[in-house]
Amino acid sequence: MFRFIARRLLETIPVLFIIVTATFFMVRFVPGGPFDSEKATTPEIRANLEAYYGLNLPLHRQYTNYLKAIVLHGDLGRSTKYASRTVNEIIADKLPTSLELGGLSLAIALVLGLSAGVIAAVRRNTKVDYIVSSFAMTGICVPTFVLGPLLVLIFAIHLGWFSASGWYVWQDRVLPSLTLGIVYAAGIARLTRGGMLEVLNQDYIRTARAKGASEARIIFRHALRGGLLPVVSYLGPAIAGILTGSFVIETIFQIPGLGREFVNSAFNRDYTLVLGTVILYAVLIISLNLVVDVVQVWLNPKLKFE
């Protein structure tokens, strides 16, 4: 297992290197620089700005400097939009909000999805099952950027139960987390139902039943472990989806998180902030995928840590 993790970690290094390199050169080779939008920049100011950010150096020097700063100090540079702030500061400031949103959404997705899926599987082909299954299908087909505004319309504007924007009190957190979580809850419910149905027909469940195990024990102790496998392999893509989904959610609900910052920085051509955010998201997604892979093998002894 340690060898498996070590090998996967080693594999991550070239992948991250390629991401950093590709993004770096992509950002540099596009028309339009970070200081194009400034009103009336004189050539002197421009030259000073470029010197400040090291943009006057030859490209390969910029690249090696950038890499060196990351590897040696974890330093992602200064924002080209907000000259007084470093990318590290901005990330430290905004990331916790996005992580909280992502965490809440994932929790909602897991709790809602797992319980709905188990109930649907246990009561298969009954009304309960049909209701759960059609809700799940609806959840998958209504995109977050339709669902979010609709929920705001109903629960914030008409009923006034929760707030429509911001991220200060708990009323602010309900609708965004719910919007982002429901899509994945629907996916998890479908996978749990399918996985549980497959497992519930197997011999070892019949054996457990024959030995007089209670229904609850059969479901939670015996069936769930096997039935969860498809859900766990879905978690990797789900986490990536929740992280990128937060761009839209943070825009709709005006949440001061990193997702909205990323979209803004892309519009502002804030080179260093874009690069830094992409690297951060890549690291997050890759490491969470690794965790998911480890959990998967741990749950299913048939898979070996190869």
């Binding site: 594999e11 992948v15 991401i19 993004t23 992509m26 950002v27 596009v30 339009g32 082909n125 299908m137 609806t138 998958i140 087909c141 209504v142 995109p143 950027f145 339709v146 979010g148 505004p149 609709l150 705001v152 319309l153 504007i157 990797g236 893509p237 990536a240 992280l243 990128t244 761009f247 839209v248 825009t251 709709i252 990323f262 979209v263 892309a266 519009f267 051509r269 874009v274 992409v278 998201y281 890549a282 997604i285 890759i286 995928n289």
Partner: protein, 302 residues
């Protein structure tokens, strides 16, 4: 999903005499598909909506860009069936025209993904050995990347050009197709008819494209159908962020974005585009699921 009616499965009541006039597998699949009400519903909705989107704007008295500042935010009425937007443009016309764009992005970007995925998967599956291992490892690694972010970067830095949108989305969505095609190719690679083709001296490309691909069309069709809604969702996602299709051009994502900004006073601006878009995704998913059952494609993930 077959409803638990008295209807029996086809194999249960086939008399030996009937077995003699065989039915082609495609016809057989067609019969199975027709019995699946949800899939039929999905197919009909997709066809009707596509026709409406293509033909509708031709018959509309309004142009999709035609503004009328004296009649902004008009609620649905006899002259504007779905009302008008902030510039007095007819929402129905914009919705149908936007549908053309959204469906076109769906089809073209899926075609890009299909081409890359099929060629890549076929080469990996047919070659086998180390080449296959390296190629599939690359797919595994790409799977783990935050690809939406790269599409956003591409769209931001290289201008929001609709042609680029096709390529960027297509370049992201081919991974699953490559995996499926590879698995299918591997499963038929050792069959006699391939051996026969090889012993006749046919070249590798000919064997792959003339003899193997036609035999795995079923899974390819199913996953193509299921890719289209994913692609359309990505287009709408980007347009919603302002990074996809650009106004005054219309697409379902653009309309949803406009609607969401003004839903408080004028909810129909959000509700109509949102409903049509969700209905389309719904229908495509049902159709894809139905095709999967009809063509009997199991979850061919690897």
């Amino acid at each position: 999903m077959i409803s638990p009616s008295s209807e029996k499965l086809p194999s249960a009541n086939v008399a030996p005499a009937q077995l003699e006039h065989g039915v082609s597998p495609w016809l057989d699949a067609w019969h199975r598909l027709r019995r699946n009400h949800l899939a039929v519903f999905g197919g009909v909705v997709v066809i009707v909506l596509s026709l409406l989107c293509v033909l509708g704007p031709l018959f509309s008295p309004y142009g999709y860009q035609q503004t009328n500042l004296e009649n902004t935010f008009s609620p649905p009425s006899a002259s504007h069936w779905l009302g008008t937007d902030q510039l007095g443009r007819d929402l129905l016309t914009r919705l149908l025209f936007g549908g053309q764009i959204s469906l076109m992005v769906g089809l073209i970007a899926t075609a890009v993904a299909l081409t890359i995925g099929v060629i890549y998967g076929a080469i990996a599956g047919y070659a086998g050995g180390n080449l296959d291992r390296v190629m599939m490892r690359i797919v595994d690694i790409l799977y783990a990347l935050p690809f939406t972010i790269f599409v956003i970067l591409l769209m931001v830095f290289f201008g929001r050009d609709i042609k680029l949108l096709f390529v960027a989305i297509g370049a992201v969505e081919w991974l699953t197709m490559a995996r499926i095609v590879r698995g299918q190719i591997m499963s038929i690679k050792r069959m006699e008819f391939i051996e026969a083709a090889r012993s006749l001296g046919l070249g590798t490309p000919r064997i792959i494209f003339r003899h193997m691909i036609p035999n795995i069309l079923g899974p390819i069709i199913v996953y193509t159908t299921l890719t289209i809604p994913g692609v359309m969702l990505l287009e709408a996602f980007l347009s919603f962020l302002g990074l996809g299709v650009q106004p005054p051009m219309s697409s379902w994502g653009v309309l949803i974005k406009d609607g969401a900004e003004r839903m408080e006073e004028y909810p129909w601006l959000l509700i109509f585009p949102g409903t049509i878009f969700s209905l389309t995704l719904f229908s495509l998913n049902f159709l894809g699921d139905g095709l999967r059952d009809a063509l009997d494609v199991r979850a061919a993930k690897d």
